[in-house]
């Protein structure tokens, strides 16, 4: 099972990025073997509209089964939810800490968007 964590850097020690659609990077962590890879999100960081939708699409294409991030808007939620990707929230932790918390079942699972859309 793969987890996509929004991150400000490309290591497990990096801080999690509270933004989803415009997160700087994503770390794709494989729970089965403990390996991880990174995924640059610069393209969506600078897109004018629909960053959440495209980021969600990319994460799904990367094979993630769940997402750990700070907030998720309505469009991103819609795309993730359609693909059955579960969403967990975190704030102020490193990527590694967030993964550990998830493993212990301490992260909040959300069943709707947590923030409103920006403009559209």
């Amino acid at each position: 099972m793969k987890i996509a964590i929004s991150s400000k850097g490309n290591t497990l020690e990096s801080a999690t990025d509270p933004r989803f659609g415009r997160a700087q990077q994503f770390i794709i962590y494989d729970l089965d073997n403990g390996t991880h890879s990174t995924f640059n999100n610069t393209q969506n960081l600078t897109s004018s509209h629909g960053a959440g939708i495209q980021t969600a699409q990319n994460i799904i294409n990367a094979g993630a089964d769940l997402v750990i991030t700070g907030n998720v808007g309505p469009n991103a939620f819609n795309v993730l939810n359609s693909a059955g990707v579960k969403i967990y929230l975190t704030s102020g932790l490193t990527v590694q800490e967030a993964i550990e918390k998830y493993k212990k079942g301490e992260l909040e699972n959300v069943s709707s968007n947590t923030v409103e859309g920006h403009w559209v």
């Binding site: 509209h49 629909g50 939708i53 469009n75 559209v120």
Partner: protein, 284 residues
Amino acid sequence: MRIAIASGKGGTGKTTVATNLAFYLKHFDNTDVTLIDCDVEEPNSHIFLRPDCQEPKVITVPVPVVQEDLCTACGKCAEICQFNAIACVKEKVLIFPELCHGCGGCLLVCPTGAITEKQREIGVVENGKGKEIKLVYGRLHVGEAMSPPLIRAAKEFSPVTADEIQLIDCPPGTSCPVITAVSESDFVLLVTEPTPFGLNDLKLAVEMVRILDIPFAVGINRSTADNNIVQDYCRTEGIPVILNIPHDRRIAEAYSTGKLILESLPEYHEQFSQVLGYIKGVLS
């Protein structure tokens, strides 16, 4: 002839200049004029012209519809979409109509013909006559983000004719809606105010008009004798300042009751006469 009245910063007086210039043309210069209010997110020229409006024309944009039995979820539509309006996940295509620009790219690339278009209403074009001035204006529905198609529709509603002058009251800023409004104009009058914000946004607007390569000049609203930041900038850049509307309380009082400057204070006609004289000189 088509003259666009634009600005970088909002609230500098585009509508004040556009409506008064229209009034000047009709009532002081005996020229037929159509004013097209392209500030479709918050049109306000009609507040000053009070037209008797005809039936509004509904404006729509095309958005894709997916026929699921034909769709193979190949993802080509999501790939071609430059506006992130389509996502393709787990055998399903999701469409976000508010983000769609109606380009039709998804229809072209769909290998199975699963995509058709339906029309989505984004606003209306109003038209009428007020104070003997023809007014056309777009009114975008609340919550809509896509104003350029409505701006195009407002402009197409009333094509330029040889025997009238057309004025375009533009939206503020320098992005797509402004480009759409300003395009195909013969001249642009950039209205600003002598404040740091006004100057900063004027510089952006000047860059925009230079790229569009349309002749332009600057008008200063709420101008005061002791503040020359806009004049200094224009002098350095070699941009003519062809209109100065002073910071006059009586103008604000007229405005607050929905009156034009030239209705309450006809002595200002000289200012608008100069604007017209300059533009005609440049374009002749």
